[in-house]
């Protein structure tokens, strides 16, 4: 009995200290977040950018943080970085009304009139844009549990009525699984990048002496096809292609490049 009480006390102590540690850490990040917000409200936008960026780099990849960072960049008159961060926020909270309004507004300020690319996948599976990867994952995970639970139930008893809900769950499970797989593929093969420099020349080859094909401006969305020797080959929805300096563009899917 004594041994049991000792063990229970130790577990409680560890849990308390751990929770306290996590709580303290959360408090620190919250404080940083509020300070960044304060800086934004007071017009110290660079300070706000630094605060939000630090939070994101610490692993707090929240849609709201990317949105706030986008706002701060917009105030700093950096539409490229603003649109980049709005797009990143959209990957996490695609239905947020404020975000969609600001993104639309920021795009209105862009100099380049580039038509939005409409891929066959986006047109056919139109609902994918309305959900983020995590929402689709959890929907599928819940349906997965229900689906297999029904199968386990059928191992022990086989009432006739269970067949019909099973059919419905099977269909929804399949759609959810397919949607999740597709979204996963879409996110991990997302080559969309945003021009972050005010104006860049798109060249015929990966050399500064190559012919200038056309010019692009901050905020324009391009597709990065490949990179080599500090240069990236980019293309536009109207099939225009050319080479730009690697640092002139930032990939929207941040896992590879990190945040600015």
């Amino acid at each position: 009995m004594r041994r049991f009480i000792w063990l229970a006390s130790m577990i409680l102590l560890v849990l308390f200290l751990g929770a306290d540690g996590i709580g303290a850490e959360n408090e620190q990040w919250e404080s940083l977040f509020f300070r960044a917000n304060e800086a934004y409200k007071e017009g110290r936008f660079q300070k706000a950018v630094d605060g939000y960026t630090r939070l994101i780099q610490s692993g707090h990849e929240s849609g709201h943080l990317f949105y706030n960072l986008g706002n701060a960049y917009f105030r700093l008159n950096e539409p490229g970085w603003a649109i980049l961060n709005y797009e990143r926020a959209r990957l996490l909270m695609p239905r947020d009304a404020d975000l969609n309004f600001n993104l639309r507004y920021a795009r209105d300020q862009m100099q380049d009139a580039v038509a939005a690319s409409e891929s066959l996948m986006n047109t056919t599976f139109f609902w994918l844009d309305a959900f983020n990867l995590y929402e689709l994952f959890w929907s599928f995970a819940v349906l997965n549990v229900v689906f297999w639970a029904i199968l386990v139930t059928r191992l022990f008893m086989r009432p006739d009525w269970i067949f019909y809900p099973f059919l419905v769950v099977l269909m929804v499970w399949f759609i959810a699984g397919f949607s999740f797989g597709l979204k996963w593929y879409q996110v991990h093969t997302d080559k969309r990048s945003v021009i972050v420099q005010e104006e860049i020349s798109v060249l015929a080859g990966p050399d500064i002496n190559d012919t200038v094909l056309f010019k692009l401006h901050a905020g324009t969305e391009v597709c990065r096809e490949r990179s080599e020797d500090g240069w990236s080959l980019v293309s536009l929805p109207d099939k225009k292609r050319g080479w730009v300096k690697k640092e002139a563009i930032e990939r929207i899917h941040w896992a590879e490049k990190g945040t600015h």
């Binding site: 959360n26 990849e61 009304a97 995590y134 994952f137 599928f140 297999w148 199968l151 386990v152 067949f163």
Partner: protein, 631 residues
């Protein structure tokens, strides 16, 4: 009246669609057809029915809706006073109408009903149904008549068909030449035609005999193109007082150069079945079997030729030829439309010009769009639709332009013209679109949406409300709530926890399944081990010796209980033998077992049960034999 039901796939239908046709009716019919299918499946198995319904739910968005439409078709365009013409009124989009069709323009005809046929068509996932009402009409007088429209009422709503024209001629004078029961006749609608005009060349096969494998060889004439018009027609006609079955094929003749032409005879090759002659009287010498249906002999090939035809092709006159003449010959109309007629600067309006008519429609020129100052004009790809019917080639060319004015004002769109040679009046004609005007209002700044949610909503016209005026533009503020910061840790696809969440349910399901299987298997293997052990124990006891008869009888009973998983309290020798036989032991061994057990029981019941038994070794042998046979 006969009622037929047919399911046809890819059947061609010429029909006039009614704009007011209720789609609801077509939809209800399609649902009815699907539910019929589901009901059939339900009769077989509810599970199959559920699968069928699931399939239909998935399929249903692919199924297009059909309109209710009515059409009239005649089997020919020309007939004599003694002919009977077949008229079919086709109703599509429904299988039931409230009443028979009411057909106008039949005052000069005697009408006989020829039956009703229901049909169900499945074409490219589109389900359509219809009813065909057949009539035979016999003219009372000669002349040209317009038949139709036919009016059909479906669910209280009326639908009208197209009209059909037929020319009734008087019975031609009986020719003195008897042309026999089989001949071919070819005729040109006109002996004189202009270049690119399209006289109709009609070939008719008249027959009173059974024929098959008909093939037609058209004459090979240079600079003359034959274009078949529709499908061959088959009908009955009276010529020189005799009734013939007629096969009619029509062609449009398109001459490309002027000059005299002789159209060589058209040849028709076929197999002819002549009535056979019976000389001997016998079982089949009955009037019934003398019917031509039964009396055709085997066929023989035959080739028939029509008479040659002369055609004079005149060149198109030079006098009065317009400068923009493209070689278009026939009768044509032009229409134009501008929509919308009022726009704002920077917006676009569509100018549509439609040239339609009968003749060499492929010569309809691509018109040049209007030239407007301070407006951009973007031409769309012209669309040409060509159709053939009994009267020749017809078609429509649709040309569209997007007009984008840059400034406000009033834009006059000049008429666009097409010139052609009118084959009816034999003069050149120029047809023009009517002048159109486009009102362009000044472009207005974009209105500010009241909220970010209602981004695309505009106030309704005439509501008396004003669009929300934009006074300034800016982004919305930062999000101040920190609640989402704790969500820094997310499950990322590919991580251990991700796979755990996804794979744990199937893993647990598999584990449960194999657990159940294993339990079932282990129960069986325990029973098998127990059975083996039972035999081993009994044999060992027998070898050890010094067992009394009662001990031996008890051991044998225990063996049977353990070996076959039984719970018998007492056991007669007959019961023991029966159990062994039922488990696959042969009758001889079972009998040996029975007699042994009988001996042991006899010893027990005669008071010698406690004495040493000498039969232990024999018991051991029988048990070994039983083990062998069961294995």
């Amino acid at each position: 009246m006969t009622t037929l039901f047919a399911v046809t796939v890819n059947q061609e239908n010429v029909s006039l669609s009614e704009d007011l046709a209720p789609r609801r009716h077509a939809l209800s019919f399609q649902l009815e057809a699907f539910l019929d299918l589901a009901r059939t499946a339900m009769a077989r198995s509810p599970k199959v029915a559920a699968l069928v319904l699931l399939f239909l739910v998935l399929l249903f968005p692919c199924v297009a809706l059909a309109d209710v439409s009515v059409s009239i078709q005649l089997d020919r365009k020309e007939a004599t006073l003694v002919d009977s013409v077949r008229m079919v009124v086709s109703v599509s989009g429904t299988r039931s109408s409230d009443l028979q069709p009411m057909v106008r323009g039949l005052d000069s005809f005697n009408v006989t009903q020829g039956g009703t046929a229901s049909r169900l068509e499945i074409t490219k996932g589109k389900v359509n149904a219809g009813v065909d009402y057949t009539y035979f009409i016999q003219p009372k007088k000669a002349g040209q008549f317009q038949i139709g429209p036919a009016e059909v009422t479906v669910e209280g709503k009326s639908f009208n068909s197209n009209t059909a024209t037929i020319t009734i001629i008087k019975q031609p004078q009986a020719s003195e030449v008897d042309r026999g029961p089989l001949f071919v006749n070819a005729r040109l609608s006109s002996a004189r035609a202009y270049v690119e005009e399209q006289p109709i060349y009609t070939v008719k096969l008249y027959r009173q005999m059974k024929v098959s494998d008909i093939s037609l060889d058209l004459p090979d004439t240079q600079r003359l193109v034959f274009k078949q018009l529709g499908k061959p027609l088959e009908y009955q006609s009276v010529l020189d007082g005799k009734t013939y079955q007629v096969l009619e094929v029509r062609y449009a003749l398109i001459p490309s150069e002027a000059g005299p032409y002789t159209i060589e005879p058209t040849r028709m090759t076929m197999t002819v079945y002549q009535p056979g002659r019976r000389t001997s009287r016998g079982l089949f010498d009955d009037p019934f079997f003398r019917d031509p249906f039964f009396s055709f002999s085997s066929g023989r090939p035959m080739t028939l030729e029509s008479q040659p035809q002369a055609l004079t092709v005149l060149p198109l006159p030079e006098a009065g030829r317009p400068a923009d003449f493209s070689g278009l010959v026939g009768r044509f109309d032009i229409e134009s439309n501008l929509a919308p007629a009022t726009i704002k600067a920077g917006e676009s309006a569509t100018l549509t010009v439609l040239v339609s008519g009968r003749g060499n429609v492929n010569r309809i020129p691509d018109l040049k769009g209007p030239e407007l100052s301070h407006a951009k004009v973007y031409a769309d790809e012209p669309v040409l639709k060509v159709e053939t019917d009994a009267e020749g080639l017809a078609g429509t060319k649709t040309m569209k332009w997007a007009l984008v004015p840059e400034r406000q004002g009033h834009y006059e769109i000049p008429p666009l013209s097409v010139s052609f040679f009118d084959s009816t009046t034999h003069h050149y004609r120029v047809i023009k679109t009517r002048p159109l005007s486009l009102s362009v209002l000044p472009s207005q700044p974009q209105t500010l949406q009241a909220s970010s949610q209602g981004a695309d909503e505009l106030p309704s016209e005439g509501s008396g409300k004003k669009a929300v005026e934009e006074l300034g533009r800016d982004i919305l503020p930062v999000h101040a709530s920190a609640k989402d910061l704790a969500a820094g840790y997310r499950i990322r696809p590919g991580e251990g926890l991700f796979w755990l969440i996804l794979l744990a349910p199937p893993f647990l399901c598999g584990l449960t399944f194999w657990g159940l299987k294993f339990r079932e298997k282990s129960d069986q293997s325990i029973a098998a081990t127990k059975a083996k052990k039972a035999a081993k124990n009994l044999i060992q006891k027998c070898r050890q010796g010094r067992m009394s008869s009662s001990e031996l009888a008890l051991s044998v009973r225990d063996f049977l209980n353990e070996r076959f998983d039984l719970a018998l309290g007492s056991l007669t020798p007959e019961e023991g033998a029966a159990i062994l036989t039922s488990k696959g032991v042969n009758l001889e061994t079972a009998e040996r077992f029975r007699s042994l057990l009988q001996c042991l029981e006899d010893a027990v019941y005669t008071g010698k049960g406690h004495e040493w038994c000498e039969r232990a070794e024999e018991v051991s042998k029988v048990i070994k034999q039983i083990q062998k046979e069961i294995r």
